[in-house]
Every structure is written in structure tokens, then in C-alpha cells.
Subunit: 349 residues, 2 copies
DNA sequence: CTGAAAGCGCTAACAG
DNA sequence: CTGTTAGCGCTTTCAG
């Protein structure tokens, strides 16, 4: 009934026990009389006392916490990943700390702070920068895994030193474009992002290129749209703008590969607005395999990332590193082409 | 270059200054020689020292932090709200703490813990339970505002004691259904959630009822679908299932009101799959006015919640309460019907 | 099984 | 402008 200024001292005084006994009760310590514990817990419930976490963590030397650092919590693809990752953390009776990293924050710095403050056991990075300062990373002091932010090769001085789990983006994009080519398309546009920097966008664009080359189709720069504005590239708005621009510059474009499903949905809207029929006039392929894509009209053909497998691999690797059973590894998984209505009329109607 | 175990003491020792001077440098205190500060900061940069937040917050007696407690971070409607709210917090040079509340957590308890730990100035609750224990709430000890989780009337013992900002859900739903009726519809289905508990679902369902009554249309229980499974009610999956069920039980249904845009999208997919044309065979109205709705095919007619206005009102009220310029208030804003393709063929094509 | 006492790392008076 | 000192609220030895 008293207000929120209670400390463990007050509970000690009111209960007649010492501070340490109260602490034992709170923390479920074994060496305490069960009646004593019950009495104390009852008083705590009555008074509404809540221990101050700052004090607890300041004193503690270790915890069982894993932090998930998410940059771009809006991205529906991450929602799924978080869900699976949280499950695995819980299964191993660790605690999850989900930390949303604002776009202007540096996820590694935030992680460092959390390591100190919460005595983390490990870290998962979801989204965020593709290139990191190895020196910075070394300072983290606990195992960490980059998850689903692309292959590390060529974007880290020593990829084998950094743990990474992702889909093989180049290969996955190739699958998508190979498929479009197999349907007879030659004028294939792409909506990507940040090509000038190392990013999944760049990797998927590389796949697009390789696929064209393999088929002997010359790459036409006019068929590439790069979403650059704003920090949130993966928006329907950008997809819309991209498709409209590509269409304006390439009236003969017959297929479009978007590096995310959200972009693809925006793109579809633009194509329809321009009077095009999907897939008769233009075929569209997305990337990620988010739930919404399968409810979109038309249902989206996409490259599905195996979320559950990726989440599981991320956590196994992290826990192996925590338990010194493994060093950092760069694990790549295949993605799967899912053919739906946005590329073939007959499919799934 | 040293690992992450540095404390302020190490920096003091290495720099030759005392702990308090280092603290002054870190915290941008005015009474410190600027050269001293520069020297210390340089050393801090070099060594990669990061102060332990637990210790800082433990010691501090106040902060300028506002916490946003979000239950259901997946909900795209909240993303927008968070964005606006963060802006206002920053404008007033307060700090935002965005806390994701897991579905099994109690947001008020989490908030209490945060109040103690971070010495919060105020709290915004986004999503989460519709009914709260007043005693619990009283213990928070700092001003708080419930935002966009519905009108408080009848679901709190004393609504005038609790700060609340929302759209007038009953009225808003009436607008939607009035409009459908004005189009000539009589068999109007509704996809809602949690009717048995106080919730926005219940409020919007009430609006649906009132609108039918006003028009002299008898309510048919078969036309109500209640999404209950799972904790996340606002999913495309639930929308799909709802529409399919309603359609099976009401072949003559000609309009459908969904209490969120996400539900509406799922519903549209089910209707199309059942061979229906939107809006020719069935008109669909959503609720919220999220970005995606305007990119959906067909563009969604919806009840748009004025996010920016709601966010601004939430923050003004909170800051007024913090500055003792106001007591808690229950503020309701009107929502706006936006007519698009999912109800009228000619609109916005 | 319980209590006393020593800090965790930092900030904030209080002196100089 | 700088250093000394006293805790913030809690956990955890170490005794009893």
C-alpha cells in the first residue's frame, strides 16, 4: 500500500529479518527456512516491493542473459526471427533481453554497454551495419553472432573470426532470376538498396548479375533501381517508387526482382496503377518469405529464408561459443524459391 | 585496447586525475578545465571505456527519461505511434526508453521496475491490457498515459483518474458501418476480437451494433466473427479465417467490417480465394489507416486514426502531468473514414 | 538457517 | 577547477 520508494531495507525492518535473509527469500536461495521465506514473500506482495535491478546487476558478477540487438524492429522478417530465437533461449533457460537499436545508435556500442550493465553471456545482432570495426567487436568480451545480415566474405577483414549465420544471398538471388529467365523473361528489373556499400542488397544484386551473365543477357543499368532515401529502405513506399521509375525508363520490362517482400508489395501496387497485369504483363519476385506475402493479392512468389533453421543455427552457434565448444563460424544456408501467383497465372489461384 | 573490464577507477589512475574529475568529464559537467576534459575523453576513447549504467542509475536520483511500454511491437500501427512519440520526447530533450513487453509479462509491473531502476519521469502505455488494477497503477509513482487502447469509460473504476488518449472507437466504428449501410448493404459481417473482455474490439463492435440499430437492421450473431486464438489477434491469418468462416455461414453477406487493417487484408485474401470480387460482391472496411493498406490490392477503405495528433496529445498530456499543469484526463479524438477501392469501384483506381 | 559487513561502479555534495 | 568521501540498493562472503 505504500508508494514505490521501498527498498530491501524496509522489508527487512518490517519483517523483522535481516537484509540478507530478505535477499535470500527474493532470490530463492536454498538455505533459508521455508516458513521464513513465505512470510517475507507475503510481506513483499502486500507492500508491492520491487527490487531495484540496477543494484542487483551492479552487484552480480554473471547472468544468464542473451541480448538480441535489433535494428529495424519494423521489419516483419525480424519479428519471426525474434520469435524463434526467444524460444531457443528460453528452452535453455537463459533470459532474453530484446534491445531495439535506434537508427542513429551504434549497435556495437549499445551492446558493449549492455554487456557491462547486464553481464551478458552472449549477443545476437539482427539487422544493422554490415561492416564493423574488428577492434570494437573484440572489446565486446562475450560471444556474439550476426544473424541474417548477409555473407561475411569480403566485408570483414577476417570473416573466419566473426560468427555469422545467413542465407546464401548471392545464390538465393540467382535462383530467383534464373527462374524468371526460365519463364522466358529477358528484360528483368531489380529493386535493391545500398549497392555502393556492403549489404544484403549488394549480395542479392550480385546474384542478379551472375544469373544474367550465365544466361548471356547483358545487364542494363536502367533496369536497376536503388532505394537510398531514408534509413528504412524496406518500405512499400520505396517499392512503389522503384517500380514506377523502372517502368517509366523501361516500358518493355517484363519481370521485376525485389530484394524484399515489402518492396515487392509496393512494386505490385505501382505496376497495377500503371495498368499492368501481374503476372501477365510483368512477373514479380520478392525475397524473405514473410507471412503477409502469402496473403497479398496476387500471392507473392518469393525466396523464402528458412527462419526457424536460421534461428536455430544462430543459437546453437552462440551457445557453442559460450560453452567453448566452438569458435566463430560463417554458416550459410540455402533459401528456397516459392512459386506463387505473382509470376505464374496457374499457381495457387 | 584493453578488454571490457575497465572502470572509472582505471581511467582515473591512467589519466592521473581523480575519479570525480573523470566523472565530470564523462557527464559534461561545467566546472572542469576544458583541457582536462579533452585529455580524459581522449583516454576514454583510446581505451574504449564505457561507464556502467547500473552504477550510474543506482546513484542518480532523477533522470529525464520517458518510457514507452509497447505490447505487440509487431503491430504496424504502433510503429507509427512510436515514431511520433519519440520525436516529441526528443524535442523536449527528454530521453526515450522503448521497452518491448512480452505477451506473458505484465506491463505495469515492468513499468514499476523501470521507474525504480531508471528513475523515469513518465510512462506511455501502448497496447496491452485494457483493465488495470488501480492500486497497482497508483504504485507507479510517476505520471503515465494510456495511448490508443480505447476509451476508458466503464472499464476502469474511475476513468477520470487515469490519463488516456484514444480515438472514439465506438463512434469511429459507427462511421464505418453507417457508410456501408449508406452504400445499401444490409448483411454486414464483422471480424473483431475479445468481445467478452473490455477491449477496443468490444468498443468497435458496439459501434457496429449501434449503427445497425440506428438503421433498423437486426443484428445477426452469425455475422460476427471473434478472433480469439493466440495472443496476437491482429494477424492476416485471423482475418483470413474470419472471412472464410463468415462467408461459409452467410453466403449472402455483402459487406465486411474488420477492426484492423491487418485483419482486413487477410479477409480480402479469403474472399478472393472464395471467388468473390471486391468490392462488387463484397465491400471491405478496415481500421487504423496503416501505410500498407494504401498499397494493398485493392486499396483498403479504412478508419484512419490520426496518429500524429494522438501522439502529440499523449505527450502534451504526459508532460503537463509531469509539470503538474494538469491532472489525468480522458481525451478522445475523432477518426476519419477514408474511402478507397475495397468498398467503391471508382474510388482511387 | 540467519546476521553483519564489504563492496559492485558511479555520482554528488563538500571541502579545498 | 579538483580531490575526498559517503552512499545508491543490493548480493555475497564470512561468521555464528
Amino acid at each position: 500500500m505504500t508508494s514505490g520508494k521501498l527498498t530491501i531495507k524496509d522489508i527487512a525492518k518490517q519483517s523483522g529479518y535481516s537484509i540478507s535473509t530478505v535477499s535470500r527469500a527474493i532470490n530463492n536461495h536454498p538455505d533459508i527456512n521455508s516458513q521464513t521465506r513465505r512470510d517475507i514473500m507475503e510481506l513483499i506482495d502486500e507492500t508491492g516491493f520491487i527490487p531495484n535491478d540496477s543494484a542487483r546487476f551492479l552487484k552480480r558478477t554473471a547472468s544468464n542473459s542473451i541480448a538480441i540487438m535489433v535494428k529495424g524492429i519494423t521489419n516483419p522478417f525480424f519479428s519471426g526471427m525474434i520469435h524463434y530465437i526467444e524460444n531457443y533461449i528460453q528452452e535453455l533457460s537463459y533470459t532474453t533481453i530484446l534491445r531495439h537499436v535506434a537508427s542513429e545508435e551504434d549497435e556495437v556500442l549499445v551492446a558493449m554497454s549492455l554487456v557491462k550493465e547486464r553481464k551478458l553471456k552472449g549477443i545476437v545482432f539482427l539487422g544493422g551495419a554490415f561492416i564493423h570495426d574488428m577492434e570494437q567487436l573484440d572489446k565486446l568480451g562475450v560471444p556474439y553472432v550476426f544473424s541474417t545480415i548477409g555473407n561475411l566474405d569480403g566485408r570483414v577483414e577476417s570473416a573466419e573470426k566473426v560468427a555469422n549465420v545467413a542465407v546464401d544471398d548471392v545464390d538465393a538471388a540467382m535462383q530467383a532470376v534464373d527462374y524468371l529467365i526460365s519463364l522466358g523473361h529477358k528484360k528483368i528489373g531489380i529493386i535493391s538498396e545500398g549497392l555502393q556499400l556492403a549489404s544484403v542488397g549488394q549480395l542479392r544484386w550480385k546474384g542478379y548479375l551472375k544469373s544474367l551473365q550465365k544466361a548471356g543477357i547483358a545487364m542494363d543499368p536502367k533496369l536497376t533501381y536503388e532505394a537510398n532515401e531514408g534509413i528504412e529502405h524496406y518500405t512499400v513506399q520505396n517499392g512503389y517508387k522503384g517500380a514506377r521509375t523502372l517502368l517509366d525508363n523501361n516500358p518493355e520490362m517484363s519481370a521485376l526482382f525485389c530484394i524484399s517482400d515489402v518492396l515487392a508489395m509496393g512494386a505490385c501496387r505501382a505496376l497495377i496503377d500503371a495498368g499492368k497485369k501481374i503476372p501477365e504483363d510483368i512477373a514479380v519476385v520478392g525475397f524473405d518469405g514473410i507471412d503477409m506475402g502469402d496473403y497479398f493479392i496476387p500471392r507473392l512468389t518469393t525466396i523464402k529464408q528458412p527462419q526457424e533453421k536460421l534461428a536455430k543455427a544462430t543459437m546453437s552457434l552462440l551457445f557453442d561459443m559460450i560453452n567453448k565448444k566452438s569458435g566463430p563460424q560463417n554458416l550459410l544456408y540455402p533459401a528456397q524459391l516459392i512459386i506463387k501467383e505473382s509470376t505464374e497465372l496457374s499457381k495457387n489461384k
